[in-house]
């Protein structure tokens, strides 16, 4: 079991005074070369999808589209009308410069490559 894993940030609160957020469901996998994050964020406006890395913290923010609903009356509401936000603390073994992000069918998949030192390296015996 390697140490190149990400942990959700538990210390920080998810809400700020100005805007409320909802935490998207996430699944985290590890392969030989990468750590893969899958976040379920349906209905996000692509232009309002933001993935930021600051120091060792990765933050994902996605804002939903609501424009057409000004005139509507809700008869039943389960989907929270807030933007998505979730932060993860990254291990230093992640090469943050090569993070890849893809948004398909409402799922944001982040591929975080492990830095070379973090991968197992065979040493030949002379």
């Amino acid at each position: 079991m390697t140490n190149a894993m990400t942990k959700p940030n538990q210390a920080k609160s998810e809400t700020s005074p100005a805007e409320r957020f909802v935490t998207p469901r996430a699944s985290v996998y590890e392969t030989v070369d990468n750590v893969v994050l899958e976040l379920e964020m349906p209905g996000v406006n692509r232009e309002a999808l933001d993935v930021t890395v600051e120091n060792d913290e990765l933050t994902v923010t996605g804002r939903r589209l609501y424009a057409a609903d000004e005139q509507a009356e809700y008869l039943h509401r389960e989907r929270l009308p807030f933007a998505y936000r979730r932060s993860f603390v990254l291990s230093e073994r992640i090469d943050t410069a090569r993070i890849n992000a893809k948004y398909l069918d409402g799922v944001l998949t982040l591929t975080l490559p492990k830095s070379v030192e973090a991968k197992p390296r065979k040493i030949t015996i002379e």
């Binding site: 079991m1 894993m5 990400t6 959700p8 469901r25 996430a26 699944s27 985290v28 996998y29 590890e30 392969t31 893969v36 899958e38 379920e40 964020m41 349906p42 209905g43 996000v44 609903d69 005139q71 509507a72 009356e73 809700y74 008869l75 039943h76 509401r77 389960e78 989907r79 948004y103 069918d105 409402g106 799922v107």
Partner: protein, 152 residues
């Protein structure tokens, strides 16, 4: 000594207003309310659903991320809208070393009672970015109509 009884005024209309609000709530609740009724026993999860109405349409929106369009089954029967499907994992490989698994998979079902004011033949649906949107037009006669006041 308390002054409560001196300040307490009885509003004769208060009870009637409360009753009216309760009636309104009951009517609103029974219209277009989705259920996961029998579905929950046989299905793995229930997607979140909103039901809203604008002037011309009833709109149902369901969050079903990570599923291709072909895996969603949408049916209307007896004025009930059935949203069913199967959400499969993309691949089995990723699970070998999973640190966190919060995503739901498997079969799902939601049932929405369509109010009588809606025309079931007019139902259209789109699926984009994991959001299923079903639109049903409200029958003409059920739309609010302005009645002009005539002179005597």
């Amino acid at each position: 000594m308390t002054y409560g009884s001196l300040i307490n005024r009885h509003n004769p209309w208060g009870d009637l207003i409360a009753l009216q609000q309760e009636m309104n709530r009951l009517f609103a609740d029974s219209m277009g309310k989705p259920q996961s009724s029998a579905g929950l026993l046989e299905t793995d999860f229930a997607p979140a659903v909103d039901v809203l109405r604008d002037h011309d349409n009833l709109i149902v929106r369901a969050d079903i991320p990570g599923i291709p369009r072909e895996n969603i089954e949408l049916t209307v029967q007896n004025n009930r809208l059935f949203i069913r499907g199967e959400k499969k994992r993309e691949s089995e490989d990723g699970q070998k070393n999973a640190h966190r698994l919060e995503r739901f998979y498997g079969s799902f079902e939601r049932v929405i009672d369509l109010p009588a004011v809606v025309n079931p033949d007019s139902i259209k649906a789109t699926f984009r970015d994991g959001v299923l949107e079903v639109t049903a037009a409200v029958r003409e006669e059920a739309k609010p109509r302005q009645i002009s006041l005539q002179d005597q």
